[in-house]
Amino acid sequence: MLLVKVYVTLKKGVLDPKGTAVKSSLNSMGFEGVEDVRIGKYMEIKLNIDGREEAAEKVKEMCDKLLANPVIEDYDFEITEV
């Protein structure tokens, strides 16, 4: 069994209203030096596939089609055995 950790993040230059709100909250709580907050998504997918290469290919397709929106988001993933 493989565990895939998928990270979906906002592209550079795309505004993040939620991140901006969290940043100003951190600022008002007194945390110093918080320059920017960008909120993304983290997903764990359990894959019942043996080959890592095949898994990577499948996950890439999942990201391109559903898990990320290529207009505003980038993605990255790592595959580990469990």
């Binding site: 795309v14 505004l15 209203p17 939620k18 709100a21 998504k41 089609k65 559903l66 898990l67 929106n69 207009v71 505003i72």
Partner: protein, 238 residues
């Protein structure tokens, strides 16, 4: 002439759309359940994707609905030139499906905006707007948390060149100002169409203001336009 209203789990403006077509416009209309495959596309003249929260907006608004069985038919229908109107969540589904360019983000001020808005008609030559005049100000309600339209600069320029920006948020007098922008949409965009002009996505809800009793009838102009277009198409075919 027949309309179809696609119903996803979580759609909540499907009945309003159905009501306008059936009881205000007196046209034939069917619900299309999301599991249906829409095999007979010739049955419909216009498909409406209604507002709501399809699949709870999980992942991103419209992201999961876009892969519903019925959507494969909607995409085919649109590619064949059929009229597709996406309202609010329906607009988000069309973006996710790639039938329209761009993407939606959370409203800039993070508020769910639910009130009447003014929008300016920027393109009145479409099947959806030919009963409007260029620059006309429509009073149509909005109700959304994710209506902050985003598209990259290059695509935006192409859209402008192709007259794909159909509605822009404005004040009562038609001035497109930052103050009149309820959600942070790029260029105050409230509605866009595809290159061919047969697919329209709009955040405001025309089905909520197509009867006098509801405080505005400007939404009816959109539906009247569709009917006029479809009738003239039949005339021309004769």
């Amino acid at each position: 002439m027949k309309f179809g209203v696609v119903v996803f789990p979580g759609s909540n403006c499907d009945v309003d759309c159905y009501n306008v077509v059936k009881n205000v416009l007196n046209k034939d209309v069917n619900y299309v359940w999301h599991k249906e495959r829409l095999n007979d596309l010739d049955e419909y003249d216009c498909l409406i994707l209604p507002g709501g929260f399809s699949y709870g907006d999980y992942l991103r608004p419209g992201a999961i609905a876009r892969f519903a069985n019925a959507m494969q038919g909607v995409i085919e229908f649109a590619n064949k030139g059929g009229l597709v109107l996406g309202i609010c969540n329906g607009f988000q589904v069309l973006l996710e499906a790639g039938l329209l360019p761009g993407a939606m983000q959370r409203n800039k001020n993070l508020k769910f905006r639910c009130h009447y808005s003014f929008i300016r008609v920027e393109n009145s030559k479409l099947p959806f707007t030919l009963e409007c005049s260029e620059g006309q100000v429509l009073k149509i309600p909005i109700a959304h948390g994710d209506g902050n339209y985003f598209v990259d600069e290059e695509t935006l320029q192409q859209m402008k060149a192709n007259d794909q920006i159909v509605f822009r948020y404005c004040d009562e007098d038609g001035n497109v100002t930052e103050q009149a922008n309820p959600n942070g949409s790029i260029d105050n965009i409230a509605g866009i169409c595809n290159k061919k002009g047969n697919v329209l996505g709009m955040m405001p809800h025309p089905e909520r203001c197509a009867e006098d009793v509801l405080g505005s009838t400007h939404g009816k102009l959109i539906f009247d336009s569709i009917i006029k277009y479809l009738e003239s198409r039949v005339e021309n075919a004769r």
